[in-house]
């Protein structure tokens, strides 16, 4: 037994040396993300904010997303209660996923890269590596727990007790450790590292979905779910440490199982046989658009679903807006004065935010063509009858279609849930949401066109389009809070477009931005047609 783990401590130190930068970014990044939003929540909670949010959070849709709260009355919904309610599940998931990826990266991935052969040729035990990476991941998560707990306790807020802070941090850390243990088991079973990653993330995703269901129907069932042992600790309210003990038992069992499995497998192989892929291609793959559709399918699908979910999560709060408005005098006065309904105003702002996010997708699709080029995957294609025009326009068109799908997904997600949440008295129908969403479509087109222009003339600038997108997003996001001069606001392309449904649409602006975008795409093509493919340099 000892023999199997020989020199694990050396590997452990080696991992720390190799990873210390990653660990630093990880612990500080997740730590600040998990504990850093307290001031923002304080801001939201001013006046009757917590009461309004409490009502909002009773919505089953919200429970499905963030989980339940033990607070029975709005008065109990303190800053701490709210913070744990809205942040803990997500931060736990984040820690879980990062740990799982880390473990697989240091186990099966290194086996596949051939690094492990070399390590094993020394006097290193068969299972020393697994023990070392598990120890490293546990250490990282313990550090993370203390960092989060420390920051939270450091705010000195009365509802953020020291015990609660530590429990909050420990719950996130324990989520990470469980993620690592799960990944270690999958690393033994699955045939390849990518399959192990997929299976680990799949398990986390499945647990999340199951808990969404049980949280709504019968909360006690969620306690049978390993994921439940993290966010159902209820820091700052009930401070339950019991679930963490269950999580620790789960981890020990999983790690023991992983070691038992590992003892009986070959290096680089899992228990499940590698799935044989297709020996011949389907007809749908055999064209340029078929190929690029296949390459981009994952990213387009994932983003479209994300836009639907983002839209839906915003849409679910429409039902509580009137309640919120009644509780907040200043806001009520603002809306009465402007003569616009709070729903309409909110729709305009939210769609601006989601549309800025939607623009990421077409930019990613356009940039994909250049990354294919740099990775030399186009060289053999370019020697066939495929023209550069075909490559370019297939890709740009696909980006535009992806943008359309994303815009529709965000608008439908928002609209459908909003209409359902508002019930009979709905002041808007789904058509209003779609119109308002597609009114902003020229801005999506514009970002895609900038990426296309870069692709044609200076492809390394393709990434800079994201910077401009982030800049525009920030400008629009803060426009309501900070009074930017007109010319500053106008540097963001979205600012040129009127905000439906509050403002009427402007056909001339719509057409102008569309035409400019199309022209930029054509211009990009002229560059793409004549430039050297980057691989030669």
């Amino acid at each position: 037994m000892r023999h199997n783990f020989a020199r694990w401590d050396m590997l452990f130190v080696q991992f720390l040396k190799r990873d210390w930068k990653k660990i630093l970014v990880w612990v500080l990044g997740v730590g600040l993300f998990s504990a850093g939003f307290v001031p923002a929540f304080e801001e939201i909670g001013k006046g009757q904010g917590f009461r309004g949010l409490y009502e909002t959070m009773q919505n089953p849709a919200m429970i499905a997303i963030v989980g339940p709260t033990p607070a029975d009355r709005a008065e109990d919904y303190t800053l701490g209660a709210m913070y744990a309610h809205e942040m803990l599940l997500f931060c736990g998931l984040l820690a879980m996923i990062l740990s799982a990826l880390h473990v697989i990266g240091h186990t099966r991935r290194e086996e596949e890269l051939g690094l492990m052969d070399l390590v094993r040729s020394f006097q290193v035990g068969r299972q020393a590596n697994s023990l070392a990476v598990m120890a490293e991941t546990v250490l990282i998560n313990v550090l993370l727990a203390f960092v989060i707990g420390g920051i939270l306790a450091g705010y000195g807020e009365s509802s953020l007790s020291a015990e609660g802070s530590l429990l909050f941090g420990a719950s996130i850390g324990m989520a990470g450790i469980m993620g690592a243990a799960t990944a270690l088991v999958m690393a033994q079973i699955m045939p390849a590292s990518s399959a192990a990653t997929g299976a680990s993330l799949g398990i986390v995703g499945a647990l999340f979905l199951v808990r969404a269901g049980t949280d709504i129907s019968k909360e006690s069932l969620s306690m049978l779910n390993p994921l439940g042992w993290t966010y159902l600790t209820y820091p700052f309210t009930e401070n339950r440490w019991g679930p963490l003990a269950l999580a620790a038992l789960f981890t020990i069992a999983a790690v023991a199982a992983a070691f038992a499995l590992e003892g009986r497998r070959d290096l680089g192989a899992g228990y499940l046989p590698e799935r044989q892929g297709r020996v011949t291609a389907r007809k749908t793959l055999l064209s340029v658009h078929g190929l690029f559709l296949r390459l981009n399918k994952g990213v387009i699908l994932a983003w479209t679903i994300a836009f639907l979910v983002i839209g839906a999560s915003y849409g679910s709060i429409y039902g509580d807006m009137q309640t919120f408005l009644e509780s907040n005098d200043i806001m009520r006065q603002m809306f009465t004065a402007s003569g616009v309904s709070i729903e309409a105003s909110f729709t305009g702002i939210i769609l601006l935010v989601t549309t800025s996010l939607v623009a990421i997708l077409p930019v990613a699709v356009v940039n994909r063509l250049f990354s294919e080029e740099v990775r030399l995957r186009l060289s053999q294609l370019l020697a066939t009858r495929v023209t550069r025009a075909r490559l370019y326009w297939t890709n740009v068109l696909m980006a535009v279609l992806a943008g359309l799908a994303g815009t529709a997904a965000a608008a439908v997600g928002l609209g459908a849930t909003a209409v359902a949440a508002m019930g009979d008295g709905a002041s808007m129908d789904i058509g209003d949401f779609l119109a308002a969403g597609f009114n902003l479509f020229p801005s999506v087109l514009f970002f895609a066109a900038l990426a296309a222009l870069a692709l044609g003339w200076s492809p390394r600038l393709g990434k800079a389009v994201y910077l401009y997108l982030a800049y525009s997003f920030a400008l629009n996001y803060f426009d309501g809070l900070v009074d930017f001069p007109e010319w500053v606001s106008k540097t963001a392309v979205q600012s040129w477009i009127p905000r439906m449904p509050v403002e009427p649409s402007d056909g001339a602006v719509f057409a102008t931005i569309t035409v400019i975008s199309a022209a930029l795409m054509v211009l990009g093509y002229f560059g793409y047609r004549r430039r050297d493919m980057a691989e030669g340099a």
Binding site: L285, Q380, L381, M533
Partner: protein, 293 residues
């Protein structure tokens, strides 16, 4: 014989770096031309210009009599290409990628594909990301050889293949040659070029330093002769055309200029030859001579 590929005074710079100073070469119909040089000499750059992937700065480059940049599409109909660095889409299987390339090229032969997959012992059902370098190379080779083309441009096609697969490859190239196809074969594996090529072009630092048939080039170098004689072997050391003379007992090893070979052997006969071995100059010798200076 018509010329399938004509390259004259080709030039190409990347920014301030000049990759090709002056490259001229030609491939005639039905001919296998070896294109050899060390890494970074400009082999791949020349080939990428021929494929229309890069734009030339100067000179002329034609395939089938057509300009490689302007008429690249017409040209691509009739050529097959195997890149030196084969990069594949990790999530597609080898079989899918071969089918895709065949389809995009046009004129693929399904039976030939299956035959080559068996011959190269490729598992077409595996995802490309799990392939070794040799297996990626096989995917590119099978795709290129399964379609009907008139010119095959192969950029270091056997790097990563094991000797058995290399033999299969050479056999396939021989078949192309018998079918009257033209092949431009870049390599730094000289024995491979030597076995297959009718002519070789040697490139170094962006310039063609030597070209011609192997026989022509051999005039430029010396045959290595090892012999044992009855008389005093040291007498041969002073004969014209003998270089690098080394003797042990009555045995000697030296290199001999091609043009003096008759004279040298006549002198050796006078000493009574007991045993003689002549090793013809290899491309290695040619190559080394160019890199020595």
């Amino acid at each position: 014989m018509s010329e399938v590929v004509i390259v004259r005074n080709l030039q190409k710079s990347f920014g301030r770096v000049t990759a090709l100073h002056d490259v001229s070469l030609s491939v005639r119909e039905g001919e296998v031309v070896g294109f050899i040089g060390p890494n970074g000499a400009g082999k791949s750059t020349t080939i990428r210009i021929l494929l229309g992937i890069l734009r030339r700065d100067g000179g002329e480059a034609r395939i089938f009599g057509k300009d490689v940049w302007k008429n690249s599409l017409d040209i691509h109909r009739r050529i097959s290409y195997v890149p030196g660095d084969v990069a594949l889409w990790g999530h597609l299987t080898g079989g899918e990628i071969i089918d895709l390339f065949m389809k995009l090229h046009g004129g693929g032969d399904k039976a030939k594909r299956d035959f080559l997959i068996r011959r190269f012992e490729l598992d077409p059902g595996k995802k490309a990301k799990s392939y070794s370098k040799g297996n990626r190379q096989k995917v590119a080779l099978i795709a290129a050889l399964s379609v009907d083309s008139d010119l095959y441009i192969l950029d270091e096609p056997t790097s990563g293949l094991d000797p058995l697969m290399e033999a299969v490859f050479q056999d396939e190239v021989r078949k192309l040659k018998e079918a009257g196809k033209s092949v431009l074969l870049s390599s730094h594996i000289l024995s491979e070029v030597e076995r297959l090529a009718d002519r070789v072009v040697i490139i170094r630092q962006g310039r063609v330093v030597e070209s011609g048939t192997l026989d022509e080039l051999r005039h430029l170098t010396r045959t290595t002769i090892r012999l044992a004689v009855d008389g005093d072997v040291r007498g041969l050391a002073a004969v014209r055309g003998v270089h690098d003379f080394r003797a042990t007992g009555n045995q000697a090893t030296f290199s001999a200029d091609q043009e003096h070979i008759h004279h040298i052997l006549s002198e050796a006969v006078k000493l009574g030859i007991r045993n003689i071995e002549a090793v013809p100059p290899t491309l290695e010798d040619l190559f080394m001579r160019h890199y020595e200076n």
